[in-house]
């Protein structure tokens, strides 16, 4: 199997080499609704920013109270990790990242950037047209940056490439829908994250080769099957802890995980409308799950499809959107008697503490003693 962990670690060098090789521009983004197809069709390399904890003497000066991923990002950008970045695009979602966008565009005045609106009410009939118009604005912007027109042929190629990428990832991801799974949760998370910092044309070849390898692989033993729900994960530390404790992570509902590739883009004559529809219909981020609760149904379906024994809900500290959703998610899981364990984290994960908590949770799941009854009784404090 390719070393996806290494790809993640070497992502900055990869981007720099790609620039030298192609002479193209690197577009960096963070939020989940970025229509990469348009940037790719314009000859750019869209890469997702991965927050990473490093010695930090920068973020505290500029930010207060915000989440650690954003602190890490500002530290990385201002300390030079992303100096190869030509463009930063913020697709409107979480406000802390909006703060990040505002800050780096102020502190790095030469950086090309774009703000893209994204509907908080994605299911209104009018949302499709709003987002279609945003796609048009973004396409114009990419053409302005690169000085090249984006043709329909280029868009079709990008759409096909990205759809292939999604299908390949789903093919690997679904290997965990059954017992006798041949890929670990940590491996899958590494693949999913590496996929977001690589050129899709190159990645698709790697994934095809991987699928052939996996078909020959001996299955892992069956263990307790967990699902991850919650704020972004930028590495596979949590999966590795779960695996070290004798359980599997078989599914996730996270923006950097399965939500990235869950739905295809259905091609149509109006390419920009097709792209808008794909992003409006993708699994919701917590921020955009405002009109009714789409996440709940999606989470529940995944617990059934992937035969989940329990759910780990990890929330980044001071993550407002997930903090607002957890009441509904806890309620859903309790109503359906699905054991869950909630914990808060930042971009680092204390291994001992997390291990103890997860081990206790697994000990409760094994004999089926998780207490889910009584959740709807009046609260006495």
């Amino acid at each position: 199997m390719e070393n996806f962990k290494e790809m993640i670690a070497n992502r900055h060098k990869y981007a720099e080499d790609w620039k030298k090789r192609t002479g193209g521009m690197v577009l960096v983004y963070n939020q989940p609704y970025m229509p990469e197809e348009i940037a790719y069709a314009g000859g750019m390399l869209p890469l997702r920013m991965l927050p990473e904890q490093k010695p930090d003497v920068i973020s505290a000066k500029w930010l207060y109270g915000c989440c650690y991923p954003v602190k890490n990002m500002i530290n990385q950008v201002l300390s030079g990790d992303y100096d190869y970045m030509d463009v930063y695009v913020y697709v409107e979602d979480c406000q802390w990242v909006w703060n990040f966008h505002e800050l780096i565009t102020d502190l790095k005045p030469g950086l090309l950037n774009h703000f893209m609106f994204f509907c908080d009410h994605p299911t209104a009939p009018t949302s499709k047209y709003v987002m279609r118009s945003e796609m048009q604005v973004f396409k114009n912007k990419v053409e302005e940056w690169t000085g090249k027109e984006i043709t329909n042929e280029a868009l079709d190629h990008a759409i096909e490439l990205y759809n292939t990428n999604r299908r390949l990832l789903r093919r690997i991801y679904e290997l965990r829908k059954v017992y006798d799974m041949v890929i670990l949760g940590s491996e899958m998370m590494h693949i999913m994250i590496a996929n977001q910092v690589m050129d899709k044309a190159e990645m698709n070849g790697i994934l095809e080769k991987l699928i052939a390898e996996l078909e020959e692989r001996e299955p892992f033993e069956d263990r307790i099957r967990l699902m991850l729900v919650g704020s972004e994960l930028f590495n596979a530390e949590l999966e590795e802890i779960v695996e070290s404790l004798g359980a599997h992570v078989v599914a996730d509902e996270t923006d950097y995980g399965s939500s990235y590739f869950w739905n295809d883009l259905v091609p149509q004559k109006d390419r920009l409308l097709a792209i808008a529809l794909r992003y409006l219909e993708k699994p919701r981020s917590a921020m955009k799950d405002s009109n009714w609760r789409h996440r709940l149904q999606h989470i529940f379906e995944m617990t059934e499809d992937f035969m989940v024994d329990g759910v780990l809900i990890g929330k980044q500290l001071v993550c407002q959107p997930h903090g607002s959703d957890n009441y509904a998610i806890w309620k859903l899981l309790r109503e359906r008697a699905i054991p869950f364990h909630f914990f808060e984290r930042d971009t680092t994960l204390p291994i001992d503490e997390t291990s103890v908590r997860i081990e206790a949770f697994l000990d409760m799941i094994r004999p089926g003693i998780t207490r889910v009854r009584g959740w709807n009784q009046p609260l006495v404090i």
Binding site: H121, R132, S133, V318, P321, W330
Partner: protein
């Protein structure tokens, strides 16, 4: 450096004060209405239905937190144990904690909301506000959108944004008619729109006059009534009368140099909500001759001002009106709901978007309001109240303003407010500006 010129201005109590208190008390009572359908949300449209009252959670939550801290703690805990994030807006934790507990602070049953309209906003917390009602029990919900974009005016883009916002509003109105069997009175709505337009004019004028020296109002005054007609939806006729009363009195105070603080010699701005249970710190600072002239949060809710190239201060026109017609010419329901988005399609009020797109907006505010310093609460909870605050402090300091920050939990959560330490910090801030307390 603060001005120390020994000037003493006349000061008088605000004559509209009692009326403001009456209106506020009336609004508080409306949350407990048994005659009307009480919903969570915002907006004046509810006044065009015969029996619907819309209540916002923020003012209710902050009132409870200020009046009954032990109960507010219990309520917040009731929210947190159900999964509601402990670092979220304190108002919400308190009010929806009452819902979970099933009671108000006085022991009366909590009036469960019968419909929910989460507030379209650039603030994450506003966008998801009130959805605890829908999560708690199956009541109807309608979501809107706060469209935002940056750069040059782009009318093509705006067409879709306006259509989107109008659709969301009309869908809500039509559904409410169908679900609750009440007729939306378009003539009443036309009147409401007209009255609110007048209110906006009065408010814009008031906050322009607030730039005068001495300041006719202080933030302490503002926080007691500025939400009337905004977060606090009341009878629009009474509302228009009230704001006219305020405008007339402020105009008189400016003409006659009547000050909010007679010893004014240090003017400071704030950014977002203060600790509502401890507004007395404004009075404390008055002993130094310091007056808070407001913030974007209070002063820019009706109009956003900017300094023009010729040096004059005037309203910023983010969106030139495309239809120069009067309200009386709005014939249909759709016309009525097109009016507001057409005027502020790029963001509600503009002042919230400033934080994200105009990082030097507070420097501009400090200049226009002739400030000497700034005081920022930096809240651990509620992203919309905290984002950009530290960088704003840096920018103001670089521009020569004296800036103090104080960390706290949330405007609606006084749990960890150390009053003594806070006041000592204010003393130190004043002293660094060469200010000493006036005796009496």
């Amino acid at each position: 450096m603060a001005r120390v010129n020994g000037q003493i201005w006349e000061t008088r109590p605000l004559e509209f004060w009692d009326r403001a208190k009456e209106l506020r008390a009336g609004w508080e009572q409306s949350a407990e209405s048994k005659e009307k359908i009480v919903g969570q949300g915002h907006g004046a449209w509810a006044g065009a239905f015969p029996a619907i009252t819309i209540i916002e959670d923020n003012p209710r939550g902050s009132t409870i937190a200020a009046k009954d801290m032990p109960f507010a703690r219990t309520a917040r805990l009731a929210s947190e144990v159900r999964g509601w994030g402990r670092e979220l807006c304190g108002y919400h934790g308190v009010l929806w904690g009452c819902q979970f507990l099933g009671q108000n602070p006085d022991g009366t049953p909590f009036n469960n909301r019968k419909l929910v309209v989460p507030m379209p906003a650039t603030c994450d917390q506003h966008t998801k506000r009130g959805i605890q009602c829908r999560d708690f029990e199956p009541v109807p919900q309608w979501q809107g959108d706060a469209t935002v974009y940056v750069g040059e005016n782009d009318f093509d883009r705006e067409v879709e944004m306006v259509n989107h916002r109008v659709y969301n509003e009309l869908k809500m109105i039509n559904d409410i008619e169908r679900i609750f069997g009440q007729k939306f009175d378009e003539d009443a709505m036309r009147e409401i729109v007209g009255l609110y337009s007048k209110v906006a004019e009065y408010r814009a004028e008031i906050f322009m006059m607030q730039m005068n020296t001495p300041a006719p109002l202080s933030a302490k005054d503002l926080y007691s009534f500025y939400t009337l007609g905004g977060r606090l939806t009341i009878d629009p006729v009474e509302l228009e009368k009230f704001w006219k009363l305020v405008r007339d009195e402020i105009r008189w105070r400016v003409d006659n140099k009547i000050a909010a603080v007679g010893t004014e010699r240090f003017r400071f701005l704030e950014a977002h909500p203060p600790q509502y249970s401890f507004l007395k710190y404004y009075r404390y600072l008055e002993q130094y001759g310091a007056v808070c002239v407001g913030s974007q949060y209070t002063n820019f809710t009706a109009a956003v001002y900017e300094r023009k190239p010729n040096g004059e201060v005037a309203q910023r026109e983010t969106n030139p009106p495309r239809r120069q017609i009067g309200i009386e010419e709005f014939k249909t329901r759709e016309d009525l709901f097109r009016r507001t988005p057409e005027l502020n399609i790029r963001g509600p009020g503009g002042f919230k978007s400033d934080e994200n797109h105009r990082p030097y907006a507070l420097n501009e505010f400090a200049d226009m309001y002739h400030c000497d310093g700034a005081f920022f609460w930096v809240w651990r909870c509620g992203v919309g109240c905290t984002m950009t605050r530290k960088e704003q402090a840096i920018r103001l300091r670089r521009a020569g303003y004296s800036v103090l920050t104080y960390e706290g939990s949330a405007p609606g959560d006084p749990t960890d407010l150390d009053e003594k330490r806070f006041l000592e910090q204010l003393d130190a801030w004043m002293e660094t500006n060469n200010l000493v307390k006036y005796e009496n």
